[in-house]
């Protein structure tokens, strides 16, 4: 199928883009288009106006800032994937990128667009949750920041208002000694996750000091679950604890069934991957 007709606006600057959004309540942003155009092609969505922000090269950067890295929203996936700064400051994100999309999609798709699309089975939102990322949103009225924990609201839904443009994502650098893990099962490597589990883990001696565990593909959005993290915090960092966290995950998640995996399989995957991803993280707590 072909996309429905739309009005095309090419933004030349960030101000240009937010002005276009403020002007037209029906306007949607067109970043890399790797999810949006696919949905337009099958007419799942028919936006009236598209504001093309691909000319905003000012939003294509990765830099060190305030104890972390700042990634411009229009940075292409492939740039993030191959960034030495990302590997150094946020190794979890670098690892996740081995699972994110295929080369041709990564060449066009953007980091910010991926987060704003908020596909429930997408990896980047889950990584943003456990790394404590912050979204910087800009509108004609000004800028505000939203924590990743408050950003993802549901299937393709975020806290970004219609007139706001995500301009930057800030991710704190990995604290020394923090371990991390990423595991995914998908129909084909590079496709959306049937289930993905990501975590960060900090130890105090042989005890879990803090653990953040997030899931993709098991609910209407990427999510952390309090019972999973409660099963870890203050407990001995061993297989039994990790298994208890896995059992908590099996109960906590709310997966649906689809062509690729039914609910029971997703619960199995969540339990097993939780256990494994925590063991992998523990081995990296150095």
């Amino acid at each position: 199928m072909k996309p429905a007709p739309f009005r095309y606006v090419r933004a030349r600057s960030v101000d240009d883009a937010v002005a276009a959004l403020a002007r037209d309540p029906e306007a949607k942003l067109l970043a890399g288009g790797q999810s949006l155009i696919a949905m337009m092609n099958v007419r799942a969505v028919k936006p009236e106006t598209l504001v093309d922000i691909n000319a905003l090269s000012a939003l294509d950067y990765i830099k060190v800032k305030d104890g972390g890295i700042a990634i411009g929203a229009m940075t292409r996936h492939e740039t993030v994937k191959s960034s030495p700064l990302v590997a150094e400051h946020c190794p979890l994100l670098a690892e996740a990128y081995h699972w994110i999309a295929h080369r041709a999609v990564r060449n066009r798709g953007t980091y910010g667009g991926n987060l704003c699309h908020a596909d429930p089975a997408s990896e980047n939102p889950a990584v943003a949750l456990v790394t404590g990322a912050t979204m910087v949103l800009k509108s004609a009225k000004g800028e505000r920041t939203v924590a990743a924990d408050d950003f993802f609201k549901g299937v393709y839904q975020t806290a970004a208002r219609h007139d706001e443009l995500l301009i930057e994502v800030r991710i704190p650098s990995r604290p020394k000694g923090q371990g991390w893990g990423f595991m995914e099962v998908s129909p084909r490597k590079g496709d959306f996750a049937m289930t993905a589990v990501v975590c960060t883990l900090e130890l105090a001696g042989a005890t879990v000091k803090t653990a953040r565990v997030a899931y993709a593909g098991i609910a209407d959005r990427a999510m952390r679950f309090a019972p999973v993290e409660a099963a870890l915090t203050g407990k001995p960092a061993n297989e039994a604890t990790f298994a208890a966290a896995g059992a908590a995950a099996r109960k906590a998640i709310n997966p649906s069934s689809d062509f690729h995996a039914d609910e029971a399989m997703r619960r199995d995957l969540a339990e097993t991957l939780t256990r494994r991803v925590l063991a992998a993280a523990k081995a990296r707590c150095t």
């Binding site: 007709p5 739309f6 080369r103 066009r108 084909r188």
Partner: protein, 159 residues
């Protein structure tokens, strides 16, 4: 819903055209330029058949509007080689039977061009990883992997 004027260079030739904003780059290449070597399979970014190079990088032309390629340099399969003067990768596919029906082949080749530019001697794993976004329903991929290895060999000066 007015048309947009765009300038696109395809296989070294410059085109000045007016397109509807919703015109996919894949349809622009096939229907407006009549370069039908680029194949349209799934038309929603899953199969990789429509892969072309945009400013040297592989893109799915069905997930790109032609207006987004304004000012860009596109390379399609027609720019790779001819029947008389095949690209080494095309020779590799010929020698190693890298295709049966041939529908996915243009996308496979354009994907492989990018791979070999970055990794002139890719391992089997690297080839398989690079091809992960391209579906083939005939070959089972084995001969495609061998074809790309052979293409790399020819590019390195092998006979």
């Amino acid at each position: 819903m007015s048309n947009e004027k765009i300038t696109i260079t395809v296989n070294g030739k410059r085109y000045d055209k007016e397109v509807e904003p919703r015109r996919l780059l894949s349809d622009f290449i096939r229907d407006d330029l009549r370069l039908t070597g680029t194949h349209v399979g799934c038309e929603h970014g899953v199969c990789g058949s429509c892969t072309v190079l945009m400013n040297g990088k592989s893109v799915r032309s069905c997930l790109t509007f032609a207006v987004m390629a304004d000012g860009a340099e596109i390379m399609t399969i027609e720019g790779l080689g001819t029947a008389e003067n095949m690209h080494p990768l095309q020779k590799g596919f010929w020698e190693k039977h890298g295709l049966q029906c041939g529908f996915c082949t243009p996308g496979m080749l354009m994907t492989a061009v990018e791979l070999l530019k970055e990794k002139p001697r890719p391992s089997v794993d690297e080839i398989r990883e690079a091809l992960s976004g391209n579906l083939c329903r005939c070959t089972g991929y084995q001969t495609i992997v061998e074809s790309i290895q052979r293409g790399a060999e020819i590019m390195q000066g092998g006979k």
